[in-house]
Each structure stands twice: as structure tokens, then as C-alpha cells.
């Protein structure tokens, strides 16, 4: 195993660990906000490590750029959707609280 491959494997394993942690969080955390936290933070980090691992493995700057863009777009999309879900939930809670307060 070359050093090259070793780095790839380490990066992939670390990435998988974060994914696993994120998934556990989604399954085990009590409420929506902490679940979203686990999902977006840990999974984006995990994806980042896996993307980095793949970039090292392919070892071509052009491919690395593409992989970087994949990561970037996923990051953007997931953070936006996380934000929208959270906002929706918050509005719901506020209207609910408002009604109870009346």
C-alpha cells in the first residue's frame, strides 16, 4: 500500500465515522433542531472527508476541482434546506404558543 492509498483510506474512514455519528444523531436526538444540527454538521463534514479522500485517490487537479464543487453544492443545498426546515418549525411553534397564550 502506497502512502497515497493510505491517506485515501484514512480520509474515507474518518468521513464514514462522521456520517455514522450524524446518522446516530438523527436517530437518537430528542427534537428537530438538534437532529438538524447532527444531520447538517456531521454529514457535511463526513462528505468533505470522503470528497477529500476521493480527490487524493484520483490525484488530478481537474477532478479535484469537480469534487470540490460537488461538495460545495451539497453544502449549500443542505444548509439552505436545514435553514428552511428550522424556520418552518419555529413559525409553527410560535403560532402554536401564540394560540395557547390567548
Amino acid at each position: 500500500m502506497t502512502i497515497h492509498e493510505l491517506i485515501t483510506v484514512i480520509l474515507l474512514v474518518v468521513g464514514c465515522f462522521f456520517f455514522l455519528a450524524g446518522t446516530l444523531g438523527v436517530l437518537r436526538f430528542p427534537d428537530l433542531f438538534s437532529r438538524l444540527h447532527a444531520l447538517t454538521k456531521a454529514d457535511n463534514l463526513g462528505l468533505g472527508f470522503i470528497a477529500a479522500g476521493m480527490a487524493v485517490y484520483i490525484a488530478s487537479p481537474w477532478a479535484a476541482l469537480k469534487i470540490f464543487f460537488i461538495w460545495l453544492f451539497t453544502l449549500l443545498a443542505s444548509s439552505t434546506s436545514c435553514y428552511l426546515i428550522a424556520r418552518f418549525q419555529k413559525e409553527q411553534e410560535q403560532t402554536k404558543n401564540g394560540k395557547e397564550g390567548e
Partner: protein, 328 residues
């Protein structure tokens, strides 16, 4: 190793399919359906069908999933519950009688099990027909494109593809026929939300570029009109959600033109060939590549517009308390 991966993927797809039908809550069903689509897309990649994978992920899982999600606003109990009619309420009571339900399911289960066994034997024993790979390979140089799937879609079996563009247009007409669509009303989500607006502004050009890329490179590699159309359709959907529905805000004649230009150009071109003594869709060999690119571009525009309009119309299908009485 590869058998292991494929086997796991197959089991995952079956599990997700079952769960999306059995999940107790509708929202769970829809999300599992998303996941099922992605599992299938992975299966297509494993089988070397990259074009199919993109189409599956984009249309069957992506676009349809978005439609399902949007529909959940109607059905989801989180929204103000409607007055159910007594018949339906009674029916719910009947349904809860699980014992009779179980009994009625047993024959169905047995029948399906038997059917599954026969089906498994039939697919297992399928003789090797050989397919049409050799024929496609032989005629590929004459088709005007280098990617075999595009050659089949836009040249060898262009008739099917043309009909299919018609089917999408018909799907939109059919949704109009259902009725219940109110006059276009601007959703004002983006107005209140700077973040959403920024994201839409960022993604619109990116999606457009990527769609154009898929369209142009459909000539030589995976991609093509349908895949590009979904990406462009996604622009339309995003803009619609952001309060700027391009398809609703342009003049009527232009909208109709955009919706129909794909099928019309394809057909009129075909008729011209017929008038010239050729068959329908029989391109002159020298111009085949160019004509296919033009047809694909126009088709992608039309399909994108149709998908946007389908979403926009379903999205605006909201209840109107006055209407329930007037109809019936």
C-alpha cells in the same frame, strides 16, 4: 465483493419499496420513496446505465418527490383539518377493524406470493436474446451523434421520443382538466426571506449552465434533452417558490409557444422530410447531428416549461371554501 454490493443494494431497494408502502405516516412514505429512487439510481449506475440514473434521480425521485412533498401540505394532519364527510369518517372506523382487514388480505398475500414465485422463475430462466447492441453499434456512425443512447432516443426510435414529449404536454393539459386551479397568485416566501432569495440567485445560473452542459454533451456522453430539461425545470420551480413564476408571468402566446415548440418543431421537421419523399423523422445524414442538437434544445425548453407549469399548477391547487358547494 461486487456481488455483495449489488446484493445489498438490491435488498435496500426492496426494503425501501416495502417500507414506503407500509410506513404508518404519509410523510415517512414520501421520504422513503425519495430514498427508494436514489437506491434505484445507484442500481442504474451499477448496471452501467448512467443516462437512466440521471433521469431516475432527476425526474422519478426528484421532480415527482417534490410533487409528493408539495401534496403533503394538503393531506398532512399538521395543517388545519378539514371537515371530513360522514361517509369517510365511518369508513375510517370500518378500516380500524384490523381482524377483518387481515383476513381479507390473506388471499391477496397468497396470490402475490405465488405470482412472485412464477415471476422469479420466469426472469431467472430468460433465454439470452442478445439485444440490439450490435445493430446499434453498426449504425451509430450514421446517426449523427456519438453517444449510443442519444442515437436511439433521437434517431433510431425518435418516434417514441416525440410521442413522449407529447405525453408530458398532455400531462399538463390533464392537470388543467382536473380543475381547481385558482388564478395565479404570487407566493411571497422569498420576499420575507433574504437567504432563500440569495440561494435562488446563486443556483439559477449554475443550474442553467449545468443543464446546457448535459444537453450539449448528450451528443458524446451521458446526458441529453430530458436530463437538461429537469435541471431547467428546477430553475422554474425554484423561481416559482421564490415568488417569480416565469411561466405564469410571460404573455400567453409566448407561454404556449414555449410549451409546444419542442413537439411542434420535431413534427414539422418530420413532415418536411415526408414531403421530400423520406420517412417521418428521417434526417438527411449530413445534417443529422445539427438537427438533433436543435431538436433536443427545443424539446428541453418545452419539457422544462411543462414541468415548471405542472409544479406551479399543483402548488396552487388550494382549497376554496366557496367552491365545495357550487360543484357536485
Amino acid at each position: 465483493m461486487s456481488v455483495l454490493i449489488d446484493g445489498l443494494l438490491a435488498i435496500l431497494a426492496i426494503y425501501l419499496a416495502l417500507q414506503s408502502l407500509l410506513a404508518p405516516r404519509l410523510i415517512k412514505s414520501v421520504f422513503l420513496f425519495f430514498a427508494f429512487g436514489l437506491a434505484l439510481a445507484l442500481a442504474w449506475v451499477r448496471l452501467g446505465a448512467v443516462d437512466v440514473a440521471i433521469t431516475e434521480a432527476a425526474i422519478a425521485s426528484g421532480f415527482l418527490g417534490v410533487l409528493f412533498l408539495d401534496a403533503l401540505r394538503d393531506f398532512s394532519p399538521a395543517f388545519p383539518a378539514k371537515q371530513k364527510n360522514p361517509e369517510a369518517a365511518h369508513n375510517v372506523l370500518v378500516k380500524n377493524n384490523t381482524k377483518s382487514l387481515l383476513l381479507s388480505r390473506i388471499p391477496l398475500g397468497l396470490g402475490l406470493g405465488l405470482f412472485l414465485l412464477i415471476a422469479l422463475e420466469a426472469v431467472w430462466k430468460t433465454p439470452e436474446g442478445g439485444g440490439l447492441t450490435a445493430a446499434a453499434e453498426a449504425f451509430l456512425p450514421e446517426s449523427g451523434v456519438e453517444h449510443p443512447v442519444t442515437a436511439v432516443l433521437l434517431n433510431f426510435r425518435a418516434y417514441d421520443t416525440w410521442l413522449e414529449i407529447g405525453v408530458i404536454l398532455m400531462g399538463l393539459l390533464a392537470i388543467f382538466a382536473v380543475g381547481g386551479i385558482k388564478v395565479y397568485r404570487k407566493p411571497n416566501m422569498a420576499a420575507q426571506d433574504p437567504m432563500l432569495r440569495q440561494v435562488i440567485m446563486f443556483f439559477t445560473p449554475v443550474l442553467f449552465l449545468f443543464g446546457a452542459f448535459l444537453l450539449y454533451f448528450g451528443k458524446t456522453g451521458p446526458g441529453g434533452a430530458f436530463q437538461a430539461a429537469v435541471l431547467w425545470g428546477a430553475i422554474g420551480i425554484l423561481l416559482h417558490l421564490g415568488g417569480k413564476s416565469i411561466i405564469e408571468e410571460i404573455p400567453r402566446w409566448l407561454r404556449q409557444l414555449i410549451l409546444t415548440v419542442g413537439i411542434l418543431f420535431f413534427l414539422v421537421l418530420g413532415f418536411l422530410f415526408v414531403a421530400g419523399g423520406n420517412a417521418l423523422f428521417e434526417y438527411p445524414r449530413a445534417y443529422a447531428g445539427l438537427l438533433i442538437l436543435i431538436i433536443e434544445t427545443l424539446a428541453a425548453i418545452s419539457i422544462a416549461a411543462a414541468l415548471t407549469a405542472i409544479f406551479a399548477n399543483l402548488n396552487q391547487m388550494k382549497e376554496d371554501p366557496n367552491e365545495t358547494e357550487s360543484i357536485n
